[in-house]
């Protein structure tokens, strides 16, 4: 694919190209609007690069298949939307527990249930974090542009491979179905990470080694490499075999969580705009952040001191930019979301009693318009001044 040249790309297509650039070799999926183009383009592109596409019987099987393929040494991905994302949850939990690198794309649409299949929403944000049972951390990245659909897909693979964990690419219909001019990074600009391979002989290899340092993750041998190791969704010890020892079990669960939280600083950080002197912060992600950016620019044009914090890594929740904002004693934090208020919950938690945290929420598939956010900025500055 012609690198370096400007192209008009669909968000979903950029995701596929990013995946292939990152080394995707196996895609398993089940069609669902508005993610279907990802499957279709994988079906078309993957065989050309020696990769394989497989349409499974459902989303559960798709998630299972990519886990299997990943264990056999291939970079793997699946893509879906709300209903399918719900179905994948059990096996996402398996990937977390068994520490299997893979990428799961969720192109959000209006829910709950079948909802409005072709309309945009950001209603799966909390599900991405909490959808599977039991204690687990997850990495979720939210692209705001077609270019990011590409770059964050690459990042998702890199994180998955480095941390041996499923990574969620939390798109929304707005980005997935947008065509936009992009200049993709060239091969040489692109950082692609591959999973570490064990350097110990088979007898000594511990697929779930606990190095005491959660940031250090055990390498992953591929099935067929001669390691003859065991993988299970049961709580297990360093050798991968099930344990009923509560201490061992607790340690394993903790380690899997800590490996993610301990690496927050290595994950894609928030984009900040005009935050230095801002009195009102807009905290916005994904497609909606485009409106937020425009609103903040419009506010500045009117002399209003608004700033934008656009988290790129949605989970684990990275608190720093908000803590910095909190230190500035802002008049308000505004959180526009195409949902009833999801990311606003951790924002409120972090902001504590420092200032009002105001949601601008919209349902039913309509985008939040820049003016709606601008109005909220104005109001916050006014009422903040009044008080």
């Amino acid at each position: 694919m012609k690198e370096g040249k400007p192209r008009l790309l669909l968000g979903n297509e950029a995701c596929v190209e990013g995946a292939i650039a990152a080394g995707l070799k196996f895609f398993a999926g089940y069609p669902i609007t508005p993610s279907t183009e990802i499957a279709e383009l994988c079906a078309s592109y993957l065989p050309r690069v020696g990769g394989k596409f497989m349409q499974m019987e459902d989303e559960i099987a798709s998630m299972a298949a990519i886990c299997g393929a990943s264990l056999a040494g291939r970079k793997s991905m699946t893509a879906t939307s709300g209903p399918g994302f719900s179905l994948k949850q059990e096996n996402i939990g398996f990937a977390v527990e068994a520490e299997i690198p893979c990428v799961v794309v969720d192109v959000q649409r209006v829910g709950p249930s079948t909802g409005m299949p072709t309309s945009a929403a950001q209603g799966d944000v909390m599900q991405a974090r909490w959808g599977t049972h039991g204690d687990h951390e997850i990495v979720a990245l939210a692209p705001s542009s077609v270019l990011e659909a590409y770059t964050l897909t690459v990042a998702a693979f890199n994180i998955a491979e480095e941390l041996r964990t499923p990574v969620i690419l939390l798109m929304d219909e707005m980005v997935g179905h947008l065509r936009e001019k992009v200049v993709l990074p060239s091969k040489s600009e692109l950082l692609v990470k591959d999973r570490a391979k064990p350097d110990l002989p088979p007898g000594q290899y511990k697929p779930y080694a606990d190095y005491g340092d959660p940031a250090k993750v055990a390498p992953l041998a591929a099935f067929g490499d001669g390691y003859k190791y065991h993988v299970t969704g049961l709580t297990h010890g360093e050798d991968g075999f099930p344990t009923n020892n509560p201490e061992l079990g607790a340690r394993q669960i903790k380690r899997i969580n800590d490996k993610i939280t301990s690496r927050k600083k290595d994950l894609p950080q928030a984009e900040e705009l005009f935050t230095d002197d801002a009195e009102v912060f807009v905290f916005s992600y994904g497609g909606t952040a485009r409106s937020a950016k425009k609103a903040v620019r419009d506010a500045r044009a009117k002399g209003l001191k608004a700033g934008l914090i656009r988290p790129v890594t949605i989970w684990p929740f990275i608190e720093e930019p908000l803590l910095k904002a909190k230190a500035k004693k802002p008049k308000a934090v505004i959180v526009p979301e195409m949902n009833l208020g999801q990311i606003i919950l951790p924002v409120k938690r972090v902001m504590g009693d420092a200032c009002p945290v105001v949601g601008v929420n919209k349902l039913g598939g309509r985008y939040i318009e820049p003016d709606e956010i601008l109005d909220a900025i104005k109001e916050a500055i006014q009422s903040g001044s009044a008080s």
């Binding site: 192209r7 609007t33 072709t118 309309s119 179905h177 065509r179 936009e180 409106s291 425009k294 318009e369």
Partner: protein, 179 residues
């Protein structure tokens, strides 16, 4: 510079393709930024179809169009629905093969029998490309050559000749209606 286009008609008229080609011409062959989006029906079949394009020298943050400057309508239904929203002083391009009444509007209204022309060229299916030629010819938003390259890069193999003819017919029509 920032121009907002809306192409509206029935599913199957190929307006999404036309919008993509327009946006691609700008994105891939000019310095402009471009985004293209569309509304999907409850399902992707039947019914009406609407595609938007924004072409701009600046970064395009918010990709939705409220009131397009240039509107192309290829069914009466689309005409009735979208003409009132056109930006005052803008332009409405009407396929009068199907559109019989255009509501009064503060905009330049250009009528041309786009679908009829396409039929005349061999297959009505290329009406979208005739329309694109017309639109490019009328607005000069992208160089004709760029648009034609985009057309040829995005139509099914084997239909290049027909589509080129259709595109040039649209360009030609632009000259006619403008004169």
């Amino acid at each position: 510079m920032r121009k907002e286009f809306r192409l509206a008609g029935a599913g199957g008229q190929g307006l999404i393709t036309a919008a993509i080609i327009l946006a691609a011409a700008a994105a891939e062959h000019t310095e402009y930024n471009a985004v293209q989006s569309q509304s999907y029906g409850p399902e992707s079949r039947g019914g009406s179809s609407k595609a938007d394009v924004i072409i701009s020298t600046d970064e395009i943050d918010y990709p939705e169009i409220k009131s397009p400057e240039i509107l192309l309508v290829m069914t009466q239904e689309a005409c009735d629905k979208f003409v009132p929203g056109v930006r005052p002083g803008g332009m409405v391009i009407v396929d009068d093969t199907y559109v019989k009444d255009v509501p009064p509007i503060d905009a330049k209204v250009i009528k041309y029998s786009i679908s009829a022309k396409a039929k005349e060229l061999g297959r009505e299916i290329v009406a979208n490309i005739v329309a694109l030629g017309l639109l490019v010819g009328l607005t000069g938003i992208v160089p004709e050559e760029a648009a034609l390259q985009s057309v040829l890069a995005r139509v099914p193999k084997g239909t290049e000749e027909l589509n080129k003819t259709a595109f040039l017919a649209g360009i030609q029509a632009a000259k006619e209606v403008n004169s």
